[in-house]
Symmetry: C2
């Protein structure tokens, strides 16, 4: 995914001073040896945004007491709000507590209430109440303890003499989030509110960044004091306008222009997965969906069933990798495969109709393509995908050649097929 | 995923001095506003490991020239090898080139060869050869230009007076990787080799960290000068021993103990996805696979088809979400569903047999369970999954209650079902 501020006339990029800054320090050797992708940065940034707080720096360091203390000392005078994650567990490489105490020149104390919670937890889980587990009750002198509703090690809030505040949070995402949501964000909202920012956003399918620029230019869109930015994922583009409360009227006018210009390309005006939007459409009509997948190999079905309650509107799917499966399970006529090949309009249509009928769904989807890296020909290159949507009124197929590697082609294809369903339910033609 | 060094007797954690340090600075506002997960850290760490180089710090900062220059000045004397990614594109928030020049007190020059490559690229893609695109040919004075085989902006290698080296690499992962692999790693291997480290690893399915500790203890495993560490993902655990070349004999002896103790729980002795292992087994026997999924909703099929060439051994799958689909598409007898319920041994077996027969595969897999968060009962709680494997000799089913949320349950279930296939192909019983 990329995010860029748009060119025309507007400086774009980072806006120091518009929002209040917070900094994140992640401790954990696992983050630096390539075996864990750091998701805390994203989780924290999204949680801070509504408070008008922005991350201005993130640093990851190994589980090494001196290194952590050094990084904390560097951040001490730089940042007003500091989040420190990881290294609060029971093992001997969990040294963040000690490093924080070192950096602040404070000592650790064993918190009786935390100790009691840990003892109860050990009892409940049948674990020995060992010294290493008891260590998790050690907190920095002067810290406010933030009880951990889903794990052993508590978080801590340390208010420094100069008004700065440090938060220590456990590394496991579930525990990190639980303490963040119940005890950090509510406190920040009251005690360290950021500058409020007004935002409007549109989730778009079927258009790229340059398409959107062109459309907005032609619609006479004028950013003025608004920040126009976007995030692109395969098949989905978030278009976003942000500004201060003093420009509320300008934002409102611009939003009307953007909304009208992007029209049915917009599938949501909040951050939603296209699956959630289609699920709402299906639910409100009492309609059901079934999917027949070749190149996407089950990826669309897996995405559809990510959401609890999908059984209400999702009948099931057929992953027809072998041609015999297309013939026998979906009723694709053998001559069609012989004449047109598996990646063709005719086969996509037959798959959509077949899965709809055989699985008893209101709407059927068929996807067939060449995900690559091999299997392409001059007429049917890697990235070419045909997809079709069938309902009680008929069926329609479209094709597109998607860029990128195997995984990207699969993701694009699933997203475009899903957008085709959304458009068909709205009575709109698909994007080709 | 978590990674921890094991307790018994060994200090664990970060080992300064064992490997040579490199540092990564990622520039890009998108990394700090929550819309992009930073994958460069992981990619780079895994690429550096075989060279005996280790990341000792990672910092992410927004696209802000002064901030980037400040971070670079801090890193100037700290790190021997510095990687700087992002901000080399054409838009006006791409300021990394300028920030690097600022930090080093050098100027930028427009590289004629890069300019020529960009001109050709614009011609080929039908893009205007604008000044903003030409800016991408600006490089820091004294830098060696690293041509970009897949994008416009070249990378740069800057060797500083004191022997330190800085690499500038584009942010888009494809471009980052292309330059890293073709021009950075080969150079480092020759000019900045790290301390060699010996490693042995075992990929394990069906055991947790505490199980492995217990098994190794009972087998008389003695870590001595070896670092024992692991990384856990749903259903897969990487167990790893690392040491210096002086302890090669100890490592060899310990590896034999570990290998014997973990036995058939080990599915690979290198970093492999279980799918790749099962694919090799199937290919070598000329066998094929078909999967019937309920709670995993297509996730297993999507994983199997991630790999090019899976059409050789994967026939297809049926995502049987609705009970009618289980009955009609898989031939699960209706009375079986009525008597035992959809999440039961009998239904898992019928699904595995049905999909094997109907899709004409050597081996059939059936998975049915309660992924949650709702739908659980006291007898059939959330997380309970039954899965079965059928082949020409018969079928077997196992159940397990998996921890975690909906996505985790789905991932665990797919992994355990796949491990069941691996074991059946080896003539071993499944892990229950």
């Amino acid at each position: 995914m990329t995010r860029r501020a748009v060119g025309f006339g507007y400086p774009g990029g980072y806006h120091a001073g518009m929002t209040r800054g917070a900094e994140l320090i992640c401790t954990g050797t696992e983050l630096l040896i390539g075996r864990t992708v750091n998701t805390h940065v994203q989780r924290l940034a999204l949680a801070l945004e509504p408070l008008g707080l922005e991350l201005t720096r993130e640093t990851s360091v190994p589980d090494h007491r001196e290194t952590i203390a050094e990084v904390l000392r560097e951040a001490r005078t730089r940042s007003e709000i500091l989040f420190i994650t990881g290294g609060l567990g029971p093992t001997n490489d969990d040294v963040t507590r000690e490093a924080v105490a070192d950096a602040l020149g404070r000592s650790l104390r064993r918190d009786p209430e935390s100790l009691e919670r840990i003892r109860h937890r050990c009892l409940r889980l049948g674990q020995a109440f060992t010294e290493s587990r008891q260590r998790q009750a050690d907190v920095v002198d002067g810290a406010v303890v933030l009880p951990n509703p889903v794990g052993a090690a508590p978080g801590e809030r340390i208010e420094l003499e100069d008004g700065r505040v440090w938060f220590l949070l456990p590394g496991p995402p579930r525990e990190f989030e639980a303490i963040l949501e119940t005890q950090v964000l509510p406190w920040l909202a009251v005690h360290r509110p950021g500058q409020p920012r007004l935002r409007r956003l549109w989730m778009v399918c079927g258009l790229g960044e340059s398409d959107v620029i062109e459309i907005l230019k032609q619609a006479g869109f004028e950013p003025g004091p608004l920040e126009l930015a976007w995030c692109a994922a395969p098949g989905a583009l978030e278009v976003r306008l942000t500004t201060g409360p003093e420009h509320a009227d300008w934002l409102e006018r611009a939003a009307q222009v953007v909304r009208a210009a992007l029209g049915p390309h917009v599938y949501a005006e909040e951050r939603l997965d296209l699956v959630e939007v289609v699920a709402r459409q299906l639910r409100s009509r009492g309609a059901t969906l079934a999917v027949a997948e070749s190149c996407t190999g089950g990826w669309l079905a897996a995405r559809l069933t990510t959401y609890p309650g999908s059984s209400e509107w999702f009948r099931g799917g057929i992953v027809a990798y072998a041609n015999e499966v297309k013939i026998q399970q979906l009723g694709v006529p053998e001559p069609l495969l012989a004449t047109h090949g598996a990646v063709s309009e005719a086969v996509a249509l037959a798959m959509a109709r077949g899965v709809r009928e055989r699985l008893g769904a209101t709407i059927g989807v068929g996807i067939t393509g060449i995900a690559g890296p091999t299997g392409g020909t001059p007429e049917k290159p890697v990235g070419l995908v045909w997809w079709a949507v069938a309902d009680e009124t008929g069926a329609a197929a479209v094709s597109r050649r998607f860029p990128g590697d195997r995984e990207l082609v699969r993701r694009w294809a699933a997203q475009f097929a899903l957008d085709h369903v959304r458009r068909r339910l709205l009575g709109l033609p698909p994007v080709a």
